[in-house]
Structures are given as structure tokens and as C-alpha cells.
Symmetry: C2
Subunit: 108 residues, 2 copies
């Protein structure tokens, strides 16, 4: 049993060396929206869902990215409606949102 | 297949409201040591191990804490030798370090 049934980590990394990173692509807004929706749906907490901030997840080319564990499902999202779909399908019901899954060959 | 075989997240949260958090208990040093050992052992990278910064993991009472996914194994560590054991047993060989496992009833 996982302490959290599903634990999603959002990369919020901001690179200052000129290289691209998730922060300039709406990562904080995605995290905030996810956190708020998970709370509103009553999913948050032990045995439920945890929405977490993370540093660089090292898949910057697909940013902004988030990963759901223990499923190990990686997502690339664009806007709040993508987050809604991840929350309502995957975090709430365990269904992977295939259209947002990050291809395996997308790395740094 | 998980993109990273094992993905460890260290809580580096610093609370400024007077409540306790992981940062004042050596979390950054634990993260730095883990990252350095994983690199030195050649474990880092796709298909291998990723050592990640995280925000509050919400199990502050057991801090400093880290979680290994997709295994969903939670650890409370004290010093560099604890980190060495997590790296050499769990991250490298997949063996849980039972003496450092955070009990299920330890939360915020």
C-alpha cells in the first residue's frame, strides 16, 4: 500500500543560464490549479492524492511536465483543461490520459 | 517500465511560520550527499536512478524524509551513513532498508 494512493510531482524548475525549463511554461499555474482541484474534489490526503512541488525532473524537452507515482506515468500539459483531465481521469479514477503522456524518448 | 528505475524525492521544505520542517534537519545535506553518491556509482540517468528535490512531502513529523518511487518506500534518515545505505541497498540493488522505513502512522 502506498501512503498516498497517487502522488503527482510538478517540475517547477527555473533555469537562469539561458536553457529552457518548466517554470516559464506555466508550471506554477499548473501546480496551483491541480492542487486546488484535488482539494475541491476531496481527493487530498493520506490514502488519497498528494500534489507536490518538485525541482527539475530532467525531462525539460517535454516541459512543463509532471509525473504520477507509483504509476510512473509522465505527462506534458498545456493548460488548465489538461490538468482537469489528469485530475478527473487519472488522479481520481486511475485512468491514464493517453493524449498527454510524454513519449519515452523525450528527455532533457 | 518506469522512465527512471528508481526516483527518490527529498523534502527540502523550509517552514517560516514556526512549525517544524525538513530543511533545518539536514535535508539539503542529505540530498547533496545522495546525488553525489548516485553519480559516483554510475547509477544516474534514464533507466537508472534520479535524485530529486521536492517541496513538502507532508510527513513532517518524521523529517527529514525522502520517498523512493515507484516502490513507494518512505525513509527517515539522520546522517550521511543512512543515505549511503539507502543508495547502496535500495537505489542500487532494490533492497528496502527496513531500519530507516518511516512507520505508516507518521504524518504531518
Amino acid at each position: 500500500m502506498s501512503y498516498f494512493e497517487r502522488h503527482i510531482f510538478f517540475c517547477l524548475n527555473q533555469r537562469d543560464n539561458g536553457n529552457d525549463s518548466c517554470a516559464p511554461h506555466g508550471a506554477q499555474a499548473g501546480f496551483d490549479h491541480c492542487k486546488s482541484r484535488v482539494k475541491a474534489l476531496g481527493l487530498a490526503g493520506v490514502g488519497g492524492v498528494r500534489v507536490n512541488k518538485a525541482g527539475c525532473l530532467d525531462r525539460c524537452a517535454g516541459g512543463p511536465v509532471a509525473v504520477v507515482y507509483p504509476d510512473a506515468t509522465w505527462y506534458s500539459y498545456v493548460d488548465a483543461s489538461d490538468i482537469d483531465e489528469i485530475v478527473e481521469k487519472h488522479l481520481q479514477h486511475g485512468e491514464i490520459v493517453e493524449r498527454l503522456v510524454l513519449p519515452d524518448n523525450v528527455g532533457r
